[in-house]
Every structure is written in structure tokens, then in C-alpha cells.
Symmetry: D5
Subunit: 119 residues, 10 copies
């Protein structure tokens, strides 16, 4: 069985020009207030989402990233799919030189899960 991934159509990640494309440097972002809904039980899930990347032409604007992540609030999506979808959306938008997305979820049924996706 595969979890459904609903379309979060209005999610628009705003991108800005990288002010220093002449060198590789790392941007590490942490958002500790991610929440979505479990596709099986319907109960809320909570996570810290971490995004680590080396920008190429673009950097992500932080408020648009927050609003993008807030849109998962009423989506039914599994831990694995949420982390992979955020990875895909950031990769498509920013085309970074390196990218890692980590979904560090609160325990459910006393089982804690962390998903790590990277280029």
C-alpha cells in the first residue's frame, strides 16, 4: 500500500537571487512547527523540518518557505511522503548545488521517526 500525496497547489516558494553565487556556502534552515494529518488515523502529526542546501542562482525567501510549510496543516500525508515532497519542491524551485531535507517527527504510538532525503 502507498500513502496518498495530495496536491498542495497553492504552495509558492518565492526565490531571491543568491547574493554570493561565486562561492559554495551552506544555508541551514530549521522549522520546528510543522504539522500535518496522518493518512491512516486522521490524527495530527508534528515535526521539525530541516532544510540544508548550497545555493546556486537562488535562495529561498524565508517567509514564503514558512507559508509553504504551513499549507501541510490540513493535508493527510505520511512521514515519508512529506519529507520527499518538500525535497522535490525545493529542488525544482531552487536547483541548488546540494540539498538535504530532514523530517524529524514526534513519536506516534511511542515510535519516533526521522526521514532524511538528500541529493
Amino acid at each position: 500500500m502507498k500513502y496518498g500525496e495530495k496536491n498542495i497547489s497553492k504552495a509558492t516558494l518565492e526565490k531571491w537571487d543568491n547574493p554570493h553565487p561565486e562561492r559554495d556556502y551552506t544555508i541551514e534552515i530549521s522549522f520546528s512547527e510543522f504539522t500535518c494529518l496522518c493518512p491512516r488515523s486522521g490524527y495530527p502529526d508534528f515535526a521539525t523540518i530541516k532544510v540544508n542546501y548550497v545555493p546556486d542562482k537562488y535562495i529561498v525567501e524565508l517567509k514564503s518557505l514558512k507559508l509553504y510549510l504551513n499549507k501541510f496543516r490540513n493535508q493527510h500525508i505520511s512521514h515519508e511522503s512529506a519529507a520527499n515532497q518538500i525535497f522535490n519542491d525545493l529542488k525544482k524551485s531552487l536547483k541548488p548545488r546540494h540539498l538535504e531535507v530532514i523530517g524529524d517527527f514526534n513519536p506516534r504510538g511511542n515510535v519516533k521517526t526521522v526521514i532524511r532525503v538528500s541529493l
Copy 2:
């Protein structure tokens, strides 16, 4: 002398399709409420079991993993055998690209033990 490994016959690890088999990513699971019985003294043992893997075709369903781990509650099994058996059962069921199982046991007789098994 070798510790006995009792058959935990009813343990059924449910597997789901990996929603993103096209890439390697890591799933880290931590279950802090593992308990079994010492094969020597008969007293309870307590551990945190950690499972880290890169899925191939399947991911483990978390509730079935919890129930599988709960089945050790009244088994007499050593630290070393418990970690290795969990490793073997997950490897056989999921055939993951990478797998590590860690059994982090509470002290017994003021001696603390951690067992790490990996591919």
C-alpha cells in the same frame, strides 16, 4: 554457553510500498519501550531499539513494528540475540538497501550494554 532464542512465531511485520523508490533516503526509527526477560536471571530487561534503514521496495508500517517489538515482552532472550533477531527479521521482510539495528539496554548490575548490528 549460548543464550536460547525462542520462536516469536506470531510476529508479523507489515510492509508498505516505498512511495519514493527512485532515490536513496534514510528512515530512522526509535522505540524506547522495549522490554524482554533475562535468560539467566529471569528478571526484566529494558532497552531502546533503534532501526535505521534505506528502503528499497518496502517500508515497514510503524504500528506493526511496535506490535512486533511488544511481543518480546515475555520472551527470555539475551541482549545480543534480541538485537540480532530484530535485524534478521527486518532484513528478511524489507530487503532494504541498508539496515542498522541498535539495542541500547538499561544497566544491569550497574553494567550498561549497547549492541549495534548493521549490513
Copy 3:
């Protein structure tokens, strides 16, 4: 859009002779009271700035580094530009054998950011 980087013209990083240029060794500096202004909202930003380097001919005098960092207090500058500008100024002044600058910023809108720039 690109954040503006205002000229911090009076910033003078004082340099001293490295007392031990005959060997490579590492100097790690941490300044937990960096503050500047967000170029978008105008609100204050706060960060810990870390500078790790292997000196060549010169070491940075610590009080001048503090005064240099204090000059950002009323500058409107983004996280990414602040870290890169500090990196550029130190590189130009000290010409070190190795240099890393980390800007570890307090959360804004519940989003925490760390910028890492290195040779």
C-alpha cells in the same frame, strides 16, 4: 531580488603578527551578541558569529573584531550577506591559510537559519 549590502566604511580590523607562523594552528572565535536589522521588515536580527581560522602572517586583534561586528547594529543586511561580508573582510585583512565564518541566527517567524561560509 537581492538584499542590499551597505558600506560599513569605518570598520577597521586590527591585525597583529602571528606569534607562531612556523606551524598551522587553529583559532576559533565566538561572538554571541551580533545584531543587525532585517532589510525587509526593518526589525532587529540577532546571531552568534563564529570565526575559525588558521593564521598565516597575522592574527586578528579581538577588541577590534568586536568593534567591527558591533558596527552592523544599525545596518540593514540579510543573513546571507552578513556572513559573506564578514568572511570577505576577514579574508582580505588576514589572508589566513584557512577561514570559516558561521552566522547562527535566532529564529525569525519561527524559522531558524545558519549560514556557513568557508575557503
Copy 4:
């Protein structure tokens, strides 16, 4: 000058068959209640002893390890010799594929010492 290493003749480390010799896995043991006597001042010394190993044919039985370590209680032995002797005794008894012994001693005269011995 060289610290004396008294013979702890009755120390018998019991060994059991490794239940899974078909693979390399790691056993990490920590014993936080080690105490011996300083060969110089005669005062008690305290340490945490850590043993990390990859077993070959044998694993150490934990209670016999505890009793073996308790035998140092009234021995006059230096930090360096204690860590090396435990290493030698375990290596000789278990013939492990890998072995590391760490003696993490409490401060003496406000000086803290850690000894690490490994294959």
C-alpha cells in the same frame, strides 16, 4: 619511574559462545563504578570503564566482567596501567575482531584524565 601493576590473580572473565559469529557487530559496555588506589598517594581513584568490541567466537559474560572490574578496588595501580591491563586481559580471553578500552577517570588535583587503548 614506572607504576607497579599488581597481579589480580583470581580475575576470571567468563566467556560465552557468540550467538551470531557469522557477522561483525559491536558490543559497547560501560561500567561507571570502577575504583582503585593511586600508587603514589594511596588515595582512591574512580573511573568509568568502557569496553567496545566486535566479538569473534566469544562474548564476555557481564556479571563476570563486573566481578573482574570490582577486583581492582584495593589494587594500587596507575590510570595508564589499569586501562592497558583491562585491555590485555580482555584481548587474551576473547580474542575479539576489534577491541577498545577507555578509562575515563575522575579529576585528581583538578586534573582529569582519559586513557584510550585500542587494537
Copy 5:
């Protein structure tokens, strides 16, 4: 400008025979009560000094190391020079197979500095 390094003439690091020269092993020493005087302001500086080494023929006797470090109490010496001088004195006395000296200084003017010197 270069900080002055006063002669600490009476510093005598006592050395003992390494009880186990037949193998490489590591000795890690930490002394959290180092203090000297700032050569610029004259104010006291405080640090933790860490010495990590692989002994060859000799190990350092701990009490003599403490007394050696206590002799900096009324010396005017910079962070960089203190760490390098301790490194040089230990290297000359012990001729170890490996040596690292770390000076982890308390903040001055809210700037914290760590100096790392190694072979």
C-alpha cells in the same frame, strides 16, 4: 605587534616511563583552572587547557603538569602564545608520537576564543 612571552624558568615537567610503549594509546588530560594575565589590559584570563597525546617513551606526571600550569598565574601572555608555549614545552619534554594542546579561554569583551595546536 607581537605579544611577549616571558620566561617561565622554573617550570619542570616531570616525566615517567611509559608502562606500555609497545602500543599506541591515547592519554587525554583536562585542566579547567588555568589562569594568566592579559598582556594588553593586565586583567586575568581563564581557560581550560586540554592535552591529548600518544606517549612514546615517557608519560607526564600529573602533579608536575598541574604545578607547571599553575606557574602561568602571574605571567602576562596572550591566548595564542600560552597554547603554543605549552605545546612546545610538552613536545620537548615528552617527544610524544602525537600531541595536541587546546586552550579554551573564557570570553573577554564577550568574545570567546579557543586555540588548537597539534603535530
Copy 6:
């Protein structure tokens, strides 16, 4: 201006008989996954809700308490009103001998707030 308190009509706190009404004892409950919506900005708010009480005839069933608290997920309600409403609902349902409700909210705009309501 006063924040609106929407009617959370379907909230049904299930109560069970207190198994030991013959004595005063304390039940402390902590729920770290409370979320609601800010009545001003519309953005999500997050909190840990703590309920401490001395039961009289009834104790609250924990799953019904969780479901009751989950109902705030899409309510627009202020920090102050949320804590007071939970207090009122528990007081009305359980008529406890003592009751304290604490809403420990995550920072908003870098301002952290804790609301404490008690009999």
C-alpha cells in the same frame, strides 16, 4: 478589543469514576501538541497544555481529553482565552477539588507567553 471565543460544541470530555475518592491525590497531565490559530494574524500557534487537579468524584478519560484538545486545531482563539476555556470546561465537567491549567505557548514574534489559571 477582546478576542473571540468560538464555540467548540462537539467537545465531549468523558469522565470516569475516581477509583480512590476517599483521599486527596493529584493527577498531572501534560499534552505537548496543542495547536490553534491566532485570532489576529491567522497563523498557527503551538503550546503545551498542562492540567493538574485533585479529583473528587470523577477523573477525566485521557483519550477524550486528547480529542477535546485536538478540536482547537482550526479555532481562532487567543492564548488567554484558550487557557481559560480549557479551565472552564474541565471545571464544569469534573468539579474537581483543585484545578490548575497552564498554557505554555511557543514564541510568537520572539515573545514567549505562559498562561496559568487555577482555583
Copy 7:
């Protein structure tokens, strides 16, 4: 509805003479490996049990207390009843001058509960 309290008939708390009945003093005991079964779901519950008392004629023998607490392992009993039953059994056996029993249970359904019973 009231949780059932099964008879744990074989529980025998051994008592020893208080060596210092001439004064009030406090004995605080903490047992972090308590486990029982939820009377509703049948799933395991885990807790730390704390016993604080001022002895009169008797003190409890610690191994018998451990064995007594281990007997709850396969009992179906609620958080509230477990803490109250332990309180009653200790009160009856020791007749202490003061007694407090705390059951600090792991979260269930993300809800954490602590029960405090005292004279």
C-alpha cells in the same frame, strides 16, 4: 466506569527494623523500570515509581520492593489505581510517619500523566 484492580496476591514487601527510629529522617526511592498493562487497550504502560517516606519502626528491604513492583508487569491496571495500590500496600506494611508515592508514566497517545498520592 472504574478500572479493575486485580489482586496481586503474592506481593510480599519485606520489612526490616529501622536502625534509627529515634529521629525523623527521609528515605527517597526511585524505580525507573515499572511496567504494567493498560486496562483499556491492553498495551504496555511504563513509569518511574518514586516512594518517599519517613520510617517509624520499619524500613522496606529494597530487593523485595523491586520484586513487588515487578509483579505488576502482566497486570491490567490504570495509572491512578497503580499509584494508589502501591501507596496502600506500603502504608499497611510499614506504617510510616510520612509516605508519598508518585507514578510518573510515559506518554500514551502523546499525553503524559503523573499521579501523586501522599498522607
Copy 8:
């Protein structure tokens, strides 16, 4: 000598109606990003400001409190005066039933200071 207290004339603390004036309850606010200037050296000072109060007719709107505290950024004011002025302004605006203001300042010259003012 007495530190000067400059007029922060534009500071307007917005007040809202207390939604539950019928009971005493406590609001605890913490703002970790307070900064002002030392009246003696001119250097920046940093503090966490805590405001704990029991509201009467009014509660303080949090964003206006943040903006009010941000206005100290370029004021020359001592630790003692800053804490007392915030206390006075909140007391005058809110007329609370109880009020405590704590200024927890970062070390200056390795001296850390906390100022506590309460009704």
C-alpha cells in the same frame, strides 16, 4: 552618580480587554532579544526581559510590547533603570493586580546582573 533615563516618548503599549477579569490568573511573558546601550561605555548591552502579571481590566497586546521593548535599542540606559522603567510603564498602562519585571542581562566585564522589580 545616577544613570540618565532618556525619554522614550513614542513607546505606546497597546492594551486589550482582559477576556476573563472574573478571576485571578497569571500571564508570563519572556522576550530574549532586548538590547540597549551602556550609559558609561556606550557599548551594547543584551538582556532577556521577563514580565509576569495578574491582569485586572487589561492585558498587554504582545506585538506592541515587542515594539515598545525594541525602542530601547539605541537608548543609553543602565540595567537598573531599564528594568524599573519597564515596570513603571507597564504598571501605569495596565494597572495590573500583580506585576513583576525581571531584566536578566548578559555578562559585562565577566559580571552578570539580574534586576527584579515587583509590586
Copy 9:
């Protein structure tokens, strides 16, 4: 049954004149390296001993206190008796205005015990 309390005959607590008998002040002493032997199993026990007192005419000399506590190393004595005996010996020697002795013992059989004795 009552634990035996062996005579520690050579224990001599040295006392010095209180330099400030004109006022009440508190001296808090903590010794984290206490060890004795369990009177039941013969195994070593470990504890931190804390002594808090208000001196009258005398203060205890710290080195003599350390040597006094070291004398328990090979005594068979229970937790309860050790704490009470230390209390009695200090009370008799110092006749302090106030005295509290705490024995904070390491877990035995996974049961942790703290004994508090005070005037």
C-alpha cells in the same frame, strides 16, 4: 533485621575555629566519591554525601572530612546507617547550630535511594 554498624574507630574529624561565629551562615559540602560495601551482598555501593550546616564554634577541616569519609571504603554498612552515622559523628564533633546530611546512592538492582537526615 537490623544492618550492622561497624566501629570506624580511627575516624578523626579535625575541627577549626569558626572565623565568624558572630553570625549564622551556611556551609554546604559535597563529596561525590563515597563508597562502602553492601552488608547483604558484599558488593560495593557508591554515593554522593552532602553535608550542610550552620557552624557554631567550629568548622570541619575539609581534608580530615575527606579522610573520614574514605574510611567507609571497606566497611559493610547499609545506606540508612551510613547517612545516620555520618550525621551523628558530625553533630558530636561540631555541635553545629544546624546540620543536614544527605546520602545520594547510585542505583542497586535498578533501585535508587536517597537518605536525608537533619536536625
Copy 10:
């Protein structure tokens, strides 16, 4: 025997006018870099000195307090005398409404001591 208290004659605690003598408020000062010399062994002692007071007409100027405390650096003085002397000097200079001085000393011979003196 009584420890000697040498005259620290040049110590001048500068006092400023209390900017808010109309109310009681508390000033808590912590200085983590106090050092003096043991009157018995001659070895250095280290402590954190805490000063908590309610000012009357005067507050202590922080830099003069730091310089005053630095003057103990080469004084031979016991823990008890140091705390009491600081208390006496501050009391005489500031005549505060309330005063507490705490000397929290690093362990010596593995014995840690805290001295608390208050009005």
C-alpha cells in the same frame, strides 16, 4: 586554628545613587572568575561569587566590584573567610536593605564547598 585574613587595603568599592530608592527591588550579581590562594596548601582556589541585594541609597558600580574581587587573586584566605569578608565590605559600603553573598568554590581534594552569608 583560624585562617588569617589579610588586609586588602586598596579595595575601593565605588557606589552610585540608587535610581529608584522609592521601592524595594533586587539586584543579583554573579562573578564566575574569582580566585584566591589556599592558606594551608598555597594552591589556587577558584569560585563563583554571587551577590544578591536590595539597595537602599546606593548601588555598587560593577567595574569597581570586579576590580575589588580581582584583588583576592594573590591573597591567602579560606573559603569561609573570603565569603564573610566580601559580605562585610559590601554591607559597610552599601548599607543595603538586604544582602546575601555566596561563595561557590570548585572542588578541592574532590570536596566541593559553598558558603552562604546573609543578613
